[in-house]
Amino acid sequence: MIGLSNDTLGYASLGASTFLASAHPSESCGSNGLPLTPNSVRILGRSQLLYTVSHPHLCSYVSIQRGKHERLIVVQEFYKCDLLAAWNNHQEFQTEKRLIQVMHEVMQGLVYLNKLGISCCCNLCPRNLLIDPYGKAKMNGYGLYYMTEQGTAVSFPIGNEFSAPEVLIAGACPELRPAGGGGNPSSDVWSLALMFLSLILPTQTKSGHKEPLEISVATVLLMASKSDHDDLASAIIDQKPQLLEKFEMLSAATQDLLRSCLKFDPTSRPSPIDLLSHPAFAGLTLTAPVDPQPRPFPRCTIASPRKAFPPMDEMLSNYPLPDDCMTLNHDGVKTGIGGLRERSMREVYHLWQLAGGQAEQELVRHGFIISRPPILVKSSSEDTEARKLPLVIREKDVEYQFHRIILFHRLLRAYPYYRSRIVADAHMDIPPYHRGEVWAALLGVDGDTISTYAEIDKVTPTSTDRQIEVDIPRCHQYDELLSSPRAHQKFTRLLKAWVVSHPGLVYWQGLDSLTAPFLYLNFNNEALAYACLTAFIKKYLHKFFLRDNSAVIQEYLAKFCHLVAFHDPLLFSHLASIGFVPELYAIPWFLTMYTHVFPLSQIFHVWDTLLLHPASLALCVAAAILRHLRHQLLDFSFNDCILLFSDMPDINIEQVVKDSVDLHLETPVSLLYRHHAPPSSDRDTEQHLSGPLNDLSSITLAEQRSEICGRISGADVVRLSEALPGSLLVVDTRPQHLFQTGSLMNAWNAPGELWMREGDSPSEDGGPQLVLEQAKLRAVGKMAVVVMGTKAAHHLTLQVCEQLVEAGVARVCLLHGGVDVFQASGHLVVPSPGAS
């Protein structure tokens, strides 16, 4: 009947509550010698599961945060009316029929929780049973017992006067507490039935006022300790015979339900799942499926259009609605739902936080509060000014994020059909709220990720388990979520899953760091995190995780050197002269794609861009980092450099990312060619790269490593000179007579011998100094300086390149295959006489 999505804010308020986790005894250590994880962190890790709860009779969890000094703050869907208030104010809630309906609704919620792995709530009571404006029951606070590890992570007992006897005993007698905590699925059944009993057998006060029957903890325990009766209902009636008449007025099915639910012995008391088909609930249907549904990505289903909210006249009379729903519009009608109230609770809370809201401060201000998010006025047009602001500011701008969130929400629902739109919009920026799924979309994750992941064996021990176990407690542990035991479990499962399903590849240290961002963003969707990780490694770290990855890494580092030499020959020469080679610092950068170097918040920004570009962008990021530290590096000695990079200094990451994109644009594609690059999925480029002009595959690793310049392909030279005439300086190092037979248009003939001549006696055509000076002048403002010679005289061409780089000429590259590649292509022209 209720067509609303369970997480829409609707008429709900948001309620905050807080508690303290118990502290460990000071300086205690775990069995592995590491300090114990604080209980608040353990709770935070477990509590993530609660975000997945989506059921019409369970209040959604909106936020669970950790404050200072072991404090936890929980924000949850809230309604101002609880069961007791409804019972007091509405006659219908005093009838058997209505109460049975409430019981049935709560029972569905309990079955849902049991199936999710939350076996017990332990704190059911009228205060935690809220009634929404349409009279539906909504359980609140049901996750406390679960997230605190059956109450062991807090110093207060969880329970109340409605708790089952075993919960009451376990809470008061810690020495008898079983490992499982004492609570079990049937404990909640007891609480529910006890509430029902106290409401259906009310007592009349002298003033004629009805009050729920009071059944004290002492009464319950005394009756439980005697063995006269099996169940509380009979025992109570035996004690107070005046209740018998009222009890017998209930239908037989209800009487039976109460008797069995109030059995003292939990083993003979039914669990929620046994009760859904109880005759007392005959004629009632399930409000929603009781099986928790994982959230697939891509969604694969077209969401049915959201049904309208039921009309307001179906509401309970005099229901305490939130203030903003009560205001009257021009026609004197209550406005009801509109604006932000149509969005999901978590979205609204996210925006409220962006607007400066802090749950902790609200709690401080009031002691306890029901906070209503500030209502934003929807503006008609997007704030285009905001786009120009720095990313970190845009990510904190409420209004901007509001539009971005809605936009991406819609696009993601239409994924994969709308993948190209997502890519286009992600170029602007990615709203943090949707980052996990946007990344998945950028990585092209598709198919049934959940089943794929479920099929992988993550349990059977393997030889890498030991290493994984050692690495995880060292991976991004400053983050409270990732340092929780639950996160460690998930880490292990993800890493094992990856290792098992990639038989050709092995676990290298660093894979853990690589997993961290995906796990952080998809904490409740391991399958998606796994799918993203797999796709990411396939695209960006192809062959890096081979057992023998030295060739791949060597080549990568060589390419990095070429890139530095190309863009910053001065820095390159300096680093080369002090012997500070990239082997010493850059391997973790590339092997972990910077996840080992930067904190998560910065990784997000690096990867937001990286995921939009081909794998070669990662090289440019490294070059951009060097560019940022250039001034220091130029002054530094070897030791200083080592120190600088052993602990990466804080750098302006947004600028680095921007620069890396620029560097990428300014670098000819073929310069970034790698033998071990992942096979391109794009058919156009595949075709493009074949043929003599394009084929760079004949370069050996030894050549890559020994040459200080990168090689450019003939096709790139042709493409660049056609697209941007005059953007290239082509240096033809062949002797003049060969040059005369044909060279590229506008090529500059500077024969190799000129560069090599010993001494600097200025002769007719100038010595090496003069040629260099000329070269410097000619190279100004060029996109690339292409040095070419005959294939046979390759060493000569190479020497010319080295001289140019040493002299500080930027953007020097070498034509792969020499002038010979153009012989058959018809690009060579005979230079007009006079051109030298």
């Binding site: 005993i169 004492g182 609570g183 669990s271 400053y478």
Partner: protein, 510 residues
């Protein structure tokens, strides 16, 4: 719950029957669906059997979990009937108490006063209150000064008399009588002054409490606001030798801290009167006082590490100086230093020693309760400049040795100090870098270098550990060097700091 349950199921039709029989461990909490996949893979079962197997396993897991949780519940109930558990009425009382605790706001009268003061001092009238406080301390300081002068002149007079008696060749007995009379007189004088100072302090305390309760300072001109700007003194006479650094610590996530190296006497640092009494104007207020009072009940406290010997009193050395500084103004919020120390000496120390001798070693002779090097006791103050909490770290002569390691008790004491600071929102801390308060002849420049290096390194380690303690981050850490350090040495130690803490590189624009 390492319990395993046996799961059995028959799959397939009559012509191809598969009997699955596996132990299922409840503790592993493995997803039944994944377990089913593993079974199918490892035993090469046809994939069409997976859904059924998965479903049955799911049901089985739910049921066995249910049963496993209910069993201990039944045992608890049995314990109740067999009286192994507490009596029903006791359990009921426990829960009632819990419920009441949740409802009540535990607020002591001390906490109430703190709140009152905190909101007062942050209000518009706050400045007037601070002036009152400052007026109080000036009065007490004046009295203390006069006592000092009076005692000096008295002593001089007595000495002159005694000298005269000796020169007039009086008998020994006469001289002795004279000197004992002099002693008596001086004791009397001391007692008189002491009682008048105490009386003044008590009166101030009474007045102050009344003012705070009333929320108004009597006689404070409402126009005081206008004079605020000139009324607040500018920062003056900073120590001559000081240098500041900004560092970032942490492997991936960087946390920013400020470090400062200064040469000063730590006791001097927290003394208002040592700051130049720039203006005797009644409106003048030292800026430190404003800062200190505003944060007194806030979440950014300041602390100071003071090195002491193993006796809890303030009778000698730096302890005497410190006691002096404390007695120069009324302690308006906490017990007087003497009372705090007495409490530590009489209540906490015996407990500590009892705990330490647990189990008591029979052969060691019963020693008197004594602190050991590395022990720390804490006193709270509201009348010191820029300091709310003082950590008294017990040292012995071993700190003068040239080779102390990171496991030295005093270094571990520093770790405890930092830990308490972190857990109790003390975000500014001053500590003696060399672990000595004065430089002596024996302590060479090389010694200073070595000592500074080990303390820098250990403190850096503790600060990095701090992120896992879950409290407040240290904002400012001040390393204090002895006042009599040479400038060259100061510069050497200042140069060492950035090399150890790796001072952050400034952000650079493109």
């Amino acid at each position: 719950m390492a319990k395993e349950d046996e799961f059995e199921l028959e799959l397939g039709g009559p012509e191809y029957t598969v009997k699955v029989h596996v132990p299922v461990s409840l503790a592993s909490q493995e997803d039944p669906q994944e377990l089913a996949h593993r079974i199918v893979q490892h035993h090469n079962l046809p994939i069409y059997m997976h859904p059924k197997l998965s479903e049955s396993l799911q049901e089985f897991a739910l049921q066995s979990n249910d049963a496993a949780l209910k069993r201990p519940g039944r045992d608890l109930l049995a314990a109740l009937t067999s009286h192994a558990a507490a009596a029903p009425l006791n359990i009921a009382a426990f829960w009632q108490q819990q419920q009441q605790q949740q409802q009540e706001e535990p607020e002591s009268s001390e906490g109430e006063e703190a709140l009152l003061y905190h909101s007062f001092v942050h209000s518009r009238e706050g400045l007037a209150l601070l002036r009152l406080e400052h007026q109080y301390s000036k009065e007490v300081a004046m009295l203390v000064k006069r006592r000092h002068a009076a005692i000096l002149s008295h002593d001089a007079k007595q000495a002159a008399k005694l000298a005269e008696a000796v020169s007039q060749s009086c008998s020994d007995a006469q001289v002795n009588a004279l000197s004992s009379r002099a002693l008596e007189a001086s004791e009397l004088l001391h007692a008189e002054w002491e009682s008048s100072i105490t009386a003044l302090k008590e009166q101030q305390l009474r007045n102050f409490r009344a003012v705070v309760r009333e929320g108004r300072v009597a006689g404070a001109a409402s126009g005081a606001d206008e004079e605020q700007t000139e009324g607040v003194g500018a920062a003056e006479d900073a120590p001559l030798l000081q240098e500041s650094f900004t560092i970032h610590l942490g492997t991936q996530l960087k946390q920013m801290h400020n470090l400062r190296l200064i040469a000063a006497d730590p006791v001097h640092l927290c003394d208002y009167t040592s700051h130049s009494a720039a203006a005797d104007s009644q409106w003048w207020l030292p800026p430190q006082r404003i800062q200190t009072s505003l944060e007194l009940y806030g979440r950014q406290l300041s602390g100071l590490v003071n090195l002491v010997d193993d006796r809890v009193n303030c009778l000698s050395g730096t302890k005497l100086e410190f006691g002096d500084v404390c007695s120069r103004a009324t302690e308006l919020h906490f017990p007087e230093l003497q009372d705090q120390l007495a409490h530590i000496r009489e209540r906490l120390l015996p407990q500590l020693c009892r705990g330490r001798l647990n189990p008591p070693a029979p052969d060691t002779p019963r020693r008197e309760d004594k602190l050991q090097p590395g022990d720390v006791y804490i006193t709270r103050h509201s009348n010191l400049s820029g300091v709310h909490v003082v950590f008294h770290v017990v040292c012995d002569d071993s700190v003068n040795s040239s080779s102390i390691t990171s496991r030295h008790p005093v270094i571990l004491g520093l770790r405890n100090v930092l830990k308490v600071a972190c857990l109790c929102d003390i975000t500014t801390l001053s500590l003696p870098l060399l672990l000595v308060s004065r430089l002596t002849e024996e302590l060479s420049a090389a010694w200073c270098q070595r000592r500074a290096e080990i303390v820098y390194k250990c403190v850096k380690g503790f600060m990095m550990e701090m992120t896992s303690w879950g409290g407040s981050e240290m904002n400012t850490l001040q390393f204090v060097l002895p006042q009599n350090i040479s400038e060259a040495q100061f510069q050497a130690l200042a140069a060492m700091l950035p090399s150890i803490f790796r001072v952050s590189n400034p952000l650079m624009a493109a």
